[in-house]
Symmetry: C2
C-alpha cells in the first residue's frame, strides 16, 4: 500500500509490526530497529523524492564507493516521550547542520532541510509506539549518508543514499567507565576529518580501544596527535574535567566533534552558576590534580551516553582512581538534561522540539 503524504514523501507501511517481539527492558544498544526507515537517493545531481518504507535490507553494488573509500557520514539523535505521549527531539537543528558540515568535508552533497525534518518527523510519528516514556528511555535515531555509485576510482561519487533508521535505547553506559589517556595512537589530525562524523573516524579507534579493553579500560580519551599532551575527547563523547568546583573542557577544533551535549552542558553550567573554562586541558594538569586531590570528576557527554562518569584513568602506567561523589556535577547535568529532554522541566533555551 503506497500513499503519498502531504510532505511529498512516499510512504509504504509495513504489513506487521515487530514491536511485540522486542523486550524493551533488555535492549542492547543499536541491535533492534523499528518497523520503518527513511530513504532518499541523490541521483542526476539532486535529491530525489524521499520514501519511508518497511525497514529492510537493501541492494547495493560491491563496487559502491562507500565500501572502498569510506564516503559516509552519520548523525546520532534521540527522540523522547513525555507522560502525555508527546514526542520531543533535542536541538535537532544542530544535528541537521552538523550532518551537512560532515557531508561537505567528505565531498558529499548537502541534504535539504525540509526533507530532513519532514522525513524525520513523519517517521517518528509512524514509530511512536517504539518511543517509551520514562527517564532513560529513548528512541535512538541514526541519519546517515553513503556513496552508492558503482565505481572504484578514487574520487567523489555521483550518487548517494541518505537514510534514517531508528533503534529503541536505554542509556548507553550504565556504570562509570575506566579510561586510558592516549599516548601513541591518535584519532585525528589537524586539517583532517576529526570534527566530522565521518564513518572512518570510528573504525580507526576500534583497535586501540581493544588494546585498552585488554588492559581493563572501557575507552580511550584521545590526546592531540602531535604531542599527546592535551586531552581532547573520547570515541563517542566529549569530555569534561572538574577541578575543585570548576569545569574544564577542550575547545572544539578540526580534530574534535562539536558535540550537542557538550555545548548544552556548557550552557547549563552557566545557568547553574558553575564556572566552565573552555581551553586546552593538559594531561599533566589532570594528573597533578588527581594526585593532590583537587580533581573531583571526569565525565563524558554525548547523545548516546548522555553523561557518563569516569571512575579511573591511566596514563604512562600511572592509574588514578576517582572516588565517585554523591552530589556530582555529572549527576546534576544528567538530571537537568534528561528533565529538559523528557519535558519534565522548563526549557528556557528552546532546546525541545516537539514532533506534532
Amino acid at each position: 500500500m503506497v500513499e503519498t503524504n502531504p510532505n511529498e514523501i512516499v510512504v509504504v507501511k509495513s504489513e506487521n509490526s515487530k514491536i511485540n517481539t522486542v523486550d524493551f527492558d533488555n535492549l542492547t544498544f543499536g541491535r533492534v530497529f523499528t518497523d520503518h526507515m527513511f530513504v532518499c537517493d541523490f541521483e542526476d545531481g539532486k535529491w530525489q523524492t524521499p520514501k519511508i518504507m518497511p525497514y529492510q535490507p537493501m541492494t547495493i553494488e560491491p563496487s559502491a564507493r562507500v565500501f572502498h573509500y569510506g564516503q559516509a557520514v552519520f548523525e546520532g539523535m534521540k527522540a523522547y516521550k513525555d507522560e502525555d505521549g508527546k514526542i520531543f527531539l533535542f536541538r535537532p537543528e544542530q544535528n541537521f547542520h552538523r550532518i551537512n558540515k560532515s557531508a561537505s568535508r567528505l565531498a558529499i552533497p548537502e541534504f535539504p532541510e525540509n526533507y530532513f525534518f519532514n522525513g524525520l518527523e513523519t517517521l517518528l510519528k509512524m514509530e511512536s509506539d517504539w518511543i517509551k516514556p520514562g527517564l532513560g528511555n529513548s528512541l535512538y535515531i541514526r541519519p546517515f549518508v553513503i556513496a552508492t555509485e558503482p565505481a572504484i576510482s578514487a574520487s567523489p561519487a555521483a550518487t548517494y543514499r541518505f537514510m534514517i533508521i531508528c533503534s529503541p535505547a536505554k542509556a548507553y553506559y550504565n556504570k562509570p567507565v575506566r579510561v586510558l589517556f592516549a599516548e601513541k595512537f591518535s584519532r585525528s589530525a589537524d586539517g583532517g576529518v576529526g570534527f566530522a562524523k565521518a564513518a572512518g573516524n570510528y573504525a580507526a579507534q576500534f583497535y586501540p580501544t581493544g588494546l585498552a579493553q585488554k588492559k581493563g579500560f572501557d575507552q580511550i580519551i584521545w590526546t592531540d596527535a602531535s604531542t599527546h599532551k592535551y586531552l581532547e575527547e573520547a570515541g563517542t563523547m566529549n569530555i569534561f574535567f572538574r577541578i575543585g568546583d570548576k569545569l574544564i573542557t577542550a575547545p572544539t577544533s578540526d580534530r574534535i566533534l562539536d558535540g550537542v551535549t557538550r555545548k548544552s552542558v556548557i550552557q547549563l553550567a552557566e545557568d547553574l552558576g558553575i564556572d566552565c573554562e573552555v581551553r586546552p586541558v593538559s594531561v599533566k594538569e589532570i594528573k597533578e590534580a588527581a594526585a593532590d586531590g583537587s580533581l573531583k570528576e571526569i565525565f563524558g557527554a554525548g547523545t548516546a551516553a548522555v553523561i557518563s562518569p569516569v571512575s579511573a584513568f591511566e596514563h604512562a602506567d600511572d592509574v588514578f582512581e576517582i572516588p565517585q561523589l554523591e552530589a556530582s556535577y555529572a549527576s546534576l547535568f544528567k538530571k537537568t538534561l534528561t528533565s529538559i529532554q523528557h519535558n519534565l522541566s522548563d526549557d528556557k533555551h528552546g532546546w525541545r522540539h516537539e514532533v506534532k
Copy 2:
C-alpha cells in the same frame, strides 16, 4: 550450475559473459567489472567457504557497521598477460600481507593466505579473456573487506565479507599531473591509520583534492599533519623526487602507505646504479631545488598510476613548472617495471607470480 572445485571454493559460473559489450580501447578506470567476483563471509568466528559467483549487487542491512563506522579495508593489484597468454601477478604476497596489516589496524580479522591465493587465481583463470596483452593493459584487482554485522554500537563487527572484484584497466593517468603541496589539510596523523588502506583515508581527501582541482591541480601531495614541512605521499601514489641525479623519497611510517611500487622503484634504482635516499623530504628543499634548477623530476609510484610524472607543483602561492625530460627516471622506471610485469624482461628478484 554449482561446482565444487579442488580448492574447496564453490564456483557458480555466469550464464553469459558481458565481455563483448566492453570497449577495451576506451576504458574509464574502475567502472566496468568482469563477469565474476570472489566472496567469503566471516561468521561464527571464522571465514566460511569461499565462493566465486556472477558479479552482482548484494543485499546488506542498512545497519551494517561498514556504513556507520567505516570498518573497511582494501587492496589494489593488477594482473598482466604476456604475448603467449600467460597471466602474471606482481608481488602479490605484498598485497596479501598488507591487507591483513590494514585489517588488523581496523580490528578486522585477518584473511587466510590459501583462501586469498586460491580465490584470486581461480578467479583470474576464469576471467582470463578480460586480461589483454600489451604494455599498458591490465586487469585491476580489488580485494576488499567490509563489516556486515547489523549493529550500530561503536565497536568492531562480528561478521565481515571479503570480496575480490576485477576491472579491466589502462594506465590511470595518461598525462603528467600538476600537484599542490598540502598546507592546511592533512591525510593522516601519527598514531592513526595512514599506513593502512582503510576506506576512510580516501574519502577524507576528496574535499581538499576538489579544492586543488578548482585551482587547476590534479592532486595533492600530503605533508606531515603536525608541521606541513615534510612531503609524504599523494592520494594513491608514493612520491619520488629527483635532485640532480639522486632520487629521494620519504620513509614509510604509520602515516604513509608502504607502497609495492615504491619499494620496487627503490630496488630498481639500486639495480640501475641510481642513488636513492630514503629520508624526510622537506618542502623547503624541494622549492630551493626547483628554484636553482637542480630539481629534475617529481613522480608518483603506485599500482593504479604505475609511474606518473609531475609537471608542476604549487606551495604557498609559488608555482614551479618542471620541464619534462626526454630521458627521465620516470620513463626508465616505468619501462623497467612494466617490462617485468608483462614478462618482457628478466625477473631477478622473483617479483612475477605466474597464475597457472
